[in-house]
Amino acid sequence: MRCASFLLLAAVFAGPAAANIALYSSNPANDASNDLVFSSGPYTGLGDSIILTAAGVANYANVQFYNDGAAGTFDTSLTFLNAGSPVGTQIGSPYTLTGLSIGANSEVNATFQLGTLSLPTDVVFILEVSNLSLNVDPGVELYSDPTLAGTNTADTAIFFQSGVYSQQSTGVPGSGNPFFDLEEAPEPSMWLVLSAGMLALAAAGYRKHRRA
């Protein structure tokens, strides 16, 4: 019995990521097999206007790129804006990732550490790429609705092109929205309460075992 209790605690502490709260999440099972390629527009930025499950603090953002070109590296940035027509004022500063490696005609997932970013319910995210190595040709992958968490305007995306933001159709129904996953990690105090409770349960079990 003692052994089982400690295993439970270990599992709780080892998996904070799995226990994150999704503020918005595309459904990984709904890959539309489409992508928006930065070079084709050319588009300076690509993203989406989304509605979170609730206003809150976001800690992680996961995105997915596809490379229509040769293998190489690139940098990327993520910017949040308030929703507007189609965008409003910027929220905070852009988050960047550098030296992302990607294979030819392959996809790669990237996670932005957002710290504790407070976001409203309606928000726009924009991804940009830079410092592309020779013949790397990245784009953002599209996933069709329904989402796992949060909502969007189906089959649309936000484009930043020639200094202008616009919301455009991505085509026929099911053509998809840019993949995006926004998570909130539970507060540390929440973990402390949870841990104390689990320890108490374990101790009680141990005493019961001794009396028997």
């Binding site: 040709d137 599209l142 085509g171």
Partner: protein, 402 residues
């Protein structure tokens, strides 16, 4: 049968005739014809085919027109004569037995019998096939004013009847009719309804006929823009109705057409119409005639286009295009992509290039006819050989199919 020989000599120009008509019981429009010129016959029935002057004919006999139309002539009784009209009275006249003024010198006539109905006829001509009209000079055998009548029938149905009053001297008067609706006249009946002298019979000159032509006339119609309106009417009975391009073949040479605009359009003009009058066109065909009606309407085309979306399996980029017509009239539109970069090509639709220029040779997407207030959404696809931006200048064509 009287042997009376007319001797009155009066001017051909004399004669104010009182003309009256009785409406028929069918919907055809039948009009009276009062002159040989206005009859404008295309063939005749000549009585000389019956034989020499004073050849006796039976109460019913067959004749043939110069165009080959057969007819059966019915008299009120036996005793009629085929006769030749003389210009002067005997003894100067030879080989002629009728000298009435108003009948052309030397022409032939059918001299009806005295028997039955006081010699007032009728003389009935039943045609082998229906015609548009008929007429003839008619004259009572005694000097003095007379009233002649012509009746038309479509089978047993009356198409109408007309009368003509001669001058006081009783000179020959022309009496005829035409069915302006269609060739529905299967029978005509000539008779006298009043005779103010001691007349006992009358002479009927050469029968003038308006027969359906056996010539096929072709009327090519066109509406611009297509579906902007309709041309409708008849080509001598053959219905004509057209909203784009049509060809109508009829055996008549007379056409009356009306241009009716579609919703959102107004009629503008005729092209090729010999006699236009507003939205109506009348024409007499002597062969093939090309007539078009132009309609105008307002069109206002705007477009929106979606993002370039790549299919990861094929590498092809797709984009939805929506063109909206906020005008009132139909617009046949197309989306043209001018100035595609080298290495970028439109793969769907493919092989379609615009030559309306400039610049010519650009690929385009045919959007078809868009009605007023309507819109059309279609998808175009591009491929590229490298990492080129798929940029181009969008142009919307709004007139005429390509």
């Amino acid at each position: 049968m009287s042997n009376f020989t007319r001797s009155t000599q009066f001017s051909l120009a004399a004669g104010l005739f009182l003309l009256t008509a009785t409406a028929g019981n069918v919907s055809d429009t039948v009009v009276q014809v009062t002159t040989l010129t206005n009859q404008a016959a295309d063939s005749t029935i000549n009585w000389t085919q019956l034989g020499a002057d004073q050849t006796a004919v039976s109460a019913s006999f067959g004749v043939t027109s110069t165009a080959g139309l057969s007819a059966t002539v019915g008299l009120a009784a036996t005793g009629g004569l085929a006769t030749v009209v003389c210009s002067t009275a005997p003894p100067n006249a030879t080989n002629c037995s009728w000298t009435g003024t108003g009948l052309p010198t030397g022409s032939e006539a059918l001299w009806t019998t005295d028997g039955a109905n006081g010699g007032h006829g009728p003389v009935t001509l039943t045609f082998g096939s229906s015609i548009f009209g008929a007429g003839a000079l008619i004259q009572a055998d005694a000097p003095g004013q007379f009233t002649a009548q012509i009746q038309a029938f479509n089978g047993a149905a009356s198409l109408g009847s007309f009368t003509a009053l001669s001058d006081s001297a009783g000179d020959a008067v022309y009496i005829g009719l035409k069915d302006t609706t269609a060739a529905h006249v299967s029978k005509v009946v000539f008779s006298l309804t009043a005779c103010h002298g001691s007349c006992a019979d009358f002479a009927l000159g050469t029968i003038q006929l308006n027969t359906p032509s056996t010539t096929a006339y072709v009327l090519n119609l066109a509406v611009t823009p297509a579906n902007g309106g309709t041309i409708s009417g008849t080509l001598n009975g053959a219905p004509a109705s057209c909203s784009s391009t049509c060809s109508v073949t009829g055996t008549g040479s007379s056409a009356t057409l009306t241009a009716t605009p579609a919703a959102g359009y107004t009629f503008a003009s005729w092209t090729g119409c010999p006699t236009p009058s507003g939205a109506t066109c009348t024409a007499t065909l002597s062969g093939t005639l090309n007539i078009s009606a132009a309609f105008t309407g307002s069109t206002s085309l705007t477009y929106t286009q979606g993002a370039l979306v790549q299919n990861r399996s094929t590498g092809i980029f797709s984009r939805t295009v929506t063109v909206t017509n906020s005008g009132t009239a139909i617009a046949a539109s197309a989306y043209v992509a001018d100035g595609l970069p080298v290495g970028v090509s439109m793969v769907s639709p493919s092989g379609t290039t615009d030559s309306s220029a400039p610049p010519s040779g650009s690929p385009y997407l045919e959007l078809g006819a868009i009605g007023g207030g309507g819109s059309v959404t279609k998808t175009i696809q591009f491929s590229r050989t490298g990492t080129q931006a798929i940029t181009y200048t969008t142009r919307i064509l709004g007139a005429g199919p390509r």
